[in-house]
Symmetry: C2
Subunit: 526 residues, 2 copies
């Protein structure tokens, strides 16, 4: 256990200036855990943002190799956290130990992926157009471009990934890789977990000689607004609700200097079950879907909240099997009392909708979440009914039946932006799916074939993003190595002496990276 717990992390030190105390709770029992946290004061928020701003001046100049070593050192520290840590996370989140152990590996793996990106060097986007002194009517100057970090980044930890999308999670890893110091707003649902993770980052920063202020973390629910409005903060990463993400986006847009907000918010992740697949393996699909909807108590951004298919005997059989499977599922404990209350309200709203009826699930009551299955009239999609597309965070899904392929297509056209869409089909189904795929591409960040959207691979090609309201900026991803691009901006140099150029642009190409040289990819020195 850390020597100090409950203090804010500012400029490499700890600070407990505030008098408001926040209590860590056991997610399963609701009882108080022996960890108390000092909510950050406005002065502490200012100090953290200023520390990040000061660190930026040094940290942005740290070589990519050194930054890679820093990220790898964080990964090592996280891997070394013991069973007591895993137990603590389990107590704060009610997630099982195996999940936390897996998520720990995902978190350290994510940091190491960004280390490899730094060593690969393509994040620089290095471009060189050499001078053309003899060009007529005007000569061309020597012009070179690469990308630098935008400045300090505010990161809002997610409730549902206490490790992989919180303190040392994807947004933090991407920002640190980009050369941007970070100020994390710790999620109130797992504050002690956050403390362990932040301490691991600080140890890694000290071992690798990173500047004080490269990482800071604040506790308290009121601090987010101060942080996003702080002039030192240059970008925001967020994973959470549509309401929360939109509020941050609006604050950031209203600043004297607006800043980008990458908020991953709301998605119902439609799964389209195609006719031949239902004929060939409807019962299996029902089983797999049930597992995907209820996995981790449905607390995933990519949880399949909408299942849609075309009317047929096979579809009816599938629907019965799906309802039966869902009815069989047990209640599970959610991440915290607030999440459970939201879930109960969401389920209640679905029960109250006249064009949605309940297919399966115990009445929602008690301290746990009961899986639920509903069926909705397809008109709700075509008419863009708001409630239908409102994400119910938890183990609930809604089935919709289309009369035919044309109605299916028309209904899907009514979808809002989504993180994912999934096609379940046999070869014969998919062969005719060109138009459907063209439609889905416009709606989502990721299209899956014969898989389930839960489980997001951390790799170069992943997109965990998509049009609004899935995210606040469809041009970003919050999972995978492309996530670094959210925190970079291009700068160019005209006729800059070689000695003053950054390594990525020097004639000798000392980093050995691929560059766009006079319009051609090249690793050559000049």
């Amino acid at each position: 256990m850390p020597a100090t717990i409950g203090h804010n992390f500012i400029a490499g030190g700890r600070s407990a200036g505030g008098e408001v105390i926040l209590q860590s709770l056991d997610a399963t029992t609701g009882e108080a855990l022996p960890y108390r946290f000092h909510q950050a004061t406005e002065a502490e928020v200012d100090a953290a943002a200023r520390a990040a701003e000061a660190a930026y001046l040094t940290y942005r100049q740290v070589s990519p190799e050194q930054r890679a070593q820093f990220l790898s050192a964080i990964a090592d520290e996280i891997d070394a956290l013991g069973d007591d840590f895993v137990q603590l996370v389990c107590r704060e989140t009610a997630l099982p130990a195996a999940r936390i152990q897996g998520e720990r590996g995902r978190t350290s793996g994510q940091l190491r992926l960004f280390a490899s990106v730094l060593r690969r060097g393509d994040f620089y986007g290095a471009r060189i157009d050499r001078a053309l002194p003899a060009r007529h009517p005007l000569p061309r100057a020597d012009i070179r471009q690469y990308r630098i970090g935008v400045g300090p980044v505010a990161v809002f930890g997610a409730s549902n990934f206490p490790l992989a999308f919180s303190t040392a999670g994807g947004d933090t890893a991407a920002a640190l890789a980009a050369g941007c110091p970070v100020v994390v707003k710790a999620h109130s649902g797992h504050m002690a977990t956050a403390d362990y993770m932040a301490s691991a980052i600080l140890r890694a920063a000290q071992h690798t000689g990173m500047p004080n202020g490269v990482f800071n973390m604040l506790y308290g629910n009121g601090v987010g607004e101060w942080l996003v409005k702080h002039p030192a903060i240059q970008a925001v990463g967020f994973t959470g609700s549509l309401k929360g993400g939109r509020a941050l986006y609006d604050m950031a847009a209203a600043r004297p200097q607006p800043i980008p907000v990458f908020a991953e918010m709301s998605s119902i992740n439609p799964v389209i079950v195609l006719p031949e697949a239902l004929k060939a393996r409807g019962a299996k699909i029902a089983e797999e879907l049930t597992a995907s909807v209820t996995m981790g108590c449905g607390q995933f951004c990519t949880n399949p909240g909408l299942v849609i298919g075309i009317r047929s005997p096979a579809f009816s059989d599938f629907l019965h099997a799906f309802a039966a499977k869902m009815a069989d599922q047990s209640a599970q404990t959610m991440l915290n009392a607030g999440t459970l209350a939201s879930y109960a309200k969401g389920v209640e709203r679905l029960h109250g909708h006249p064009a949605i009826h309940h297919l399966a699930g115990q009445p929602q009551q008690g301290r746990q979440a009961w899986p639920q299955l509903f069926q909705a009239d397809i008109a709700l999609l075509t008419q863009r009914d708001e409630l239908l597309q409102e994400e119910v965070f938890g183990p609930t899904s809604i089935v919709i039946e289309a009369a035919d392929a044309a109605e299916l297509h028309k209904a899907l056209a009514g979808l809002q932006g989504q993180l994912t869409a999934t096609l379940i089909g046999e070869d014969d189904d998919l062969a005719g799916c060109g138009e459907l795929l063209a439609l889905l591409e416009q709606k989502v960040g990721r299209v899956l074939f014969n898989g389930y959207p839960t489980g997001v691979e951390v790799c170069d090609a992943m997109v965990h993003g998509g049009p609004y309201p899935a995210t606040s900026d469809a041009r970003g991803t919050s999972v995978g190595s492309l996530a670094i691009e959210r925190f970079l901006r291009p700068v160019c140099y005209q006729n800059c002496p070689d000695t003053l150029l950054p390594d990525a642009l020097k004639n000798a190409n000392p980093l050995g990276i691929m560059r766009l040289l006079d319009g051609q990819n090249s690793r050559d020195a000049l």
Copy 2:
């Protein structure tokens, strides 16, 4: 001359539903030219945005080679516009014929650059992570990513580049290259010019078989708000004032679905004259700076509005020479009466500032703009005086003298975001400029050495962007091939059958493009 002039361009046809008539004016004399324009109605704005939305479904699927042919065809049409066209542009803008001929070449060259980018294929950002079925504990799916156009883009033409940053200018070229149909709001200062250019685009679209609605254009000052708020519009490109750009940004951010706005707005483009350079060639620098400040009547985004150096006899000599040269300059006609009125007000505000004094220039009066030189107290920079950093669009610059290198550095730290910063120095000056460069990088999109910021090369490595208020989003550039990235977003495919994948991601790599394959750059087929 086009057969029809003065009608809005909607879905490949022409529309004149409105009763408000706008008149094209001769910029030099103020007299009415024989061109009258129908301001678009709200219904016409809707029709144009819907036409772009409908065209997107087809146009986004058009192959990059076909899009390249479309862009090249536009370039050919523009190059073929005759002397009557050049004369018309000169009459509407008061810009000289040689400038318009040069700008025409820049505009067609820009379209051809994007054609080459489409053929090169790196804009796709294609990434492939192959399946790892044997990976433990979980197998990895096949995941592939590329980038698609975000959807219809609204483009606001600039006053000062009637060709290169208006109807068929950089934003339009970038959006069309990205696969995004365009709706242009024609600038009121050169509506007949816009008509010729739009007609050229339509002819190219017809010759190359592009869908109706791939390009649309609307007249009228009130139409911008309808356009930016229209749900079909997915991004905005703008070049103009801070006030105008910020208003569009705010509208876009307040939409139910917020959209990105790339507004290039306000920059005073500091030029730092270093001691040894002043000793070696102070008089020449004064002459070159005068030419840069007054070129094109100072109507460039990158016009050097601030010149700063360190107190010395050589600096005093430079200052006298600069003032004498500026005093010698003639008045020039501005783009339109509104621009002249703004310039006169800006000059008046500088005259009225107690810590700014006038060094050179005739009293501002009459129908032309008189070049002006002012000197400001350095405290205005360190104290972030608002007026000092407000761009005065026209042939005016302000000189600031620092006591020493430390004060220079401190003053530059007070700069807002800029498009450019320029260092004028001898080798001895530049050798010690590492820290200064590190500071300037944080402030600007482009750093120049021993050149002048006016004249922005259109190439792969150019950045015409920078932190706010230079632009509304420092992660973009509005000049150069990187401009295409503003209008692209990533999409990924998980376990997608090869036949359904886009060409950029197919196993055979039919486009022959460079892809990031399992973390390595490769043109290989799989």
